[in-house]
Symmetry: C2
Subunit: 423 residues, 2 copies
């Protein structure tokens, strides 16, 4: 029998206890040993919980108990979670976590400490909820040079954008609906501003390229500026707007960004809707693979944590093979050197002058008209807009042209500039 | 350094040698040791191959060489492949394979033999080409009770059906195109009749449910009866026809089938086109996950083989955890007890009588009219058809009703009876 402790009895922590209880027999068969939760550390009381007998407020009951060999950290954040993770590793206990903040910020150090102590630090649940992705990157695709990752990694923003698209809601309405359904926090900034997706693409990239990608250096743009009118234009282009996290290994370093993007119909990520996540990975032998599933939620995330626990139990003392995220922070490519296409909406005082200017600057681009929503072309106030998709160019060139347009006088605002995702 | 041998220098075998050469450095880093191909066993000559120096016709050079610790079997079939696999395992060598015929027929025995000898028998590449699927089922989703698998598992049939759909080809044309492009064999029966998909769903189900599912007992129907008219009707229903392999764990045993099916838009498998594969897995904690990628091809499949080799090298002597496919053959649910909906096309001598009869037997079903193809409604000779989707019912009831219709006299043929895939 293997005894484990859970740190933090929140949504995921209580889910871990539930999965271990519910799938007791099959977990025992797969791990080769029975797995039992011995202690749960939390400062709160849970008088009605089925696990109330196991809950303690005293960290020593976990860290000084030699019979506890695996610690599950589901506290979140980089405060107590970091301290307890270090303490557990130093005490020679394996640590399994769903904490993306901690892994994104201190992953390499914690992995080093684990290696020194001969124990594992595993974090399958930190990205993609229940979707197997860390292990596939590190192991199943190990024969490849992985060079590109494109993902819809945040369920909250995807839920909001899907609501806007399918039910013609505007951003504020959809956000409120997400909050009512428990898919968005009261303070939604971490999701809506892209910070969550940013940490996740940093973790995936570090594991895939074996080069630490610091999330603080990734260009990140959220979805709070996406309007119902943008969605209506996207529909006209048979595209869907999603918050897309992207990274590519290049000879100059890793290029990474998190931005809203128009995902065209036919792209594997086009159908990733609602709270689902999709992660597309390219490798030099396997070509393109995609992983899809519920990117968050109590039981999916808990099942990923428990899969890591099973892996540890099965391999205790022998070697799963340590994960690596690279030793030191790699150089990120300057986002101004990025290339791509944009969908641009220009609010115009004089449409024929604007059209002329756009054609002069960008060549033969086609005007896009919004469709498909009630009142489109009217209700969204897009009457005096010239909207189009630019050719592929470098970021700097895009900025220069847009600045030229705004200075020319016939345009008083660029109402949108949204990346177009190419396959 | 670890030395390996490759048995069979065909498409996948030569791909394995190529991937090991090409990604030498990253493979070494991930495996922790250098991996070198020492011998390649094949009865043919390959005077122009970069690997020609390694090729031998003498099995003893492989099996009697104690320095070779891992054997890659890419011969295929259940003849020499089986004999050599047994010989390798008995000599204490790990075996990694892409051979679905052998795994589907003798997987449990070979896994037992491997366990006895303390070595591994791994077969990630036997299903889904480069898509990580066996390891995710056995390990990443280990915390779940897995209960359902739905997959587009055969790239050849999917290529043919996609061609029929996108380019309005008929079956024979699309098959010839697949053969010209190397996606179908001269004798295409194994793919077209569903035997390949059948073996693959048997392997996946055995691993997921830990209960051996004998492929010989799975109800299997191919795609050779799918016509351009069917595709045209499917389009009218916003669906795509695919060869779908399905299995579900039920209290009565495993229900499994391979049949063409109408996959509705919005279903995760709807967008799996061309030679791609998609595999949807449901578990009691993770919910629904999907894996997508190139289901065949030299380098994708080879990369899955090499990932298994890396896993073996990393864990030599310690324990990846043996795979299991169940000890003995489980009972399959009688296909007549299966329930579902069908799309049915009735060739009628008297449309109004047929309509009356159908409404009487099935209740208020809607007639479907084919659209979207040049000449549809005319060119495909569907003028005198009554086509509709049945309500959900048991297989036996479906058969009874169809027999009643045919006996009533107004219908001279059921031109199609295609399962409708529900989510």
């Amino acid at each position: 029998m293997v005894e484990i402790a859970i740190l933090g009895y929140g949504v995921v922590g209580s889910g871990v206890a539930e999965v271990i209880r519910r799938n007791h027999d099959s977990i025992k068969r797969r791990a080769g040993k029975e797995i039992r939760v011995k202690k749960i550390l939390d400062i709160r009381d849970f008088p009605d919980s089925p696990d109330r007998e196991l809950i303690t407020k005293d960290p020593d009951e976990v860290f000084s108990d030699p019979s506890i060999s695996v610690v599950v950290e589901t506290i979140g954040g980089t405060g107590a979670a970091r301290e307890f993770t270090q303490r557990a590793l130093e005490a020679g206990k394996h640590v399994v976590t769903s904490n993306k903040e901690l892994v994104a910020a201190y992953g390499p150090q914690l992995l080093n400490l684990a290696r020194e102590k001969g124990v594992y630090y595993l974090f399958e649940a930190s990205v993609g909820g229940g979707i197997p992705i860390i292990r596939p990157l590190a192991r199943c695709l190990a024969a490849n040079e992985l060079y590109e990752i494109t993902g819809v990694l945040n369920g909250t923003t995807n839920y909001i954008l899907t609501k806007m698209e399918k039910e013609n809601m505007d951003f504020e309405e959809a956000l409120k609906e997400a909050q009512r359904n428990g898919y968005a926090e009261a303070n939604p900034a971490a999701d809506v501003e892209g910070h969550d997706a940013c940490r996740k693409i940093a973790i995936l990239s570090s594991v895939a390229y074996n080069e630490f990608v610091d999330y603080r250096e990734i260009y990140t743009e959220g979805i709070s500026n996406i309007s119902a009118a943008d969605i209506s234009y996207a529909r006209a282009m048979e595209s869907s707007i999603k918050l897309v996290a992207f990274s590519r290994k290049t000879p100059k370093g890793v290029l990474a960004r998190v931005t809203p993007a128009l995902v065209p119909k036919g792209h594997p990520l086009y159908n990733v809707e609602g709270v689902f996540n999709g992660i597309m990975v390219k490798g030099n032998a396997v070509g393109e693979t995609m992983f899809f599933g519920q990117g968050a939620g109590k039981l999916p995330t808990a099942s990923a944590v428990v899969a890591d626990v099973i892996d540890v139990v099965k391999h205790d003392g022998s070697g799963i093979g340590f994960l690596t995220m690279g030793e030191k922070a790699g150089r990120l490519v300057d986002i101004n050197e990025d290339t791509g296409r944009y969908f641009v909406r220009l609010k115009s005082k004089d449409l024929s002058k604007t059209r002329e200017l756009v054609l002069k600057l960008y060549g033969d681009v086609k005007q896009v008209e919004p469709t498909g929503a009630p009142g489109a072309g009217g209700g969204y106030g897009v009457q005096n807009e010239f909207a189009f998709v630019t050719p592929v160019a470098q970021e700097l060139e895009h900025m220069q042209k847009l600045s030229d347009i705004l200075q020319a006088g016939s345009v008083f605002e660029a109402a949108a500039k949204i990346r177009v995702l190419d396959k």
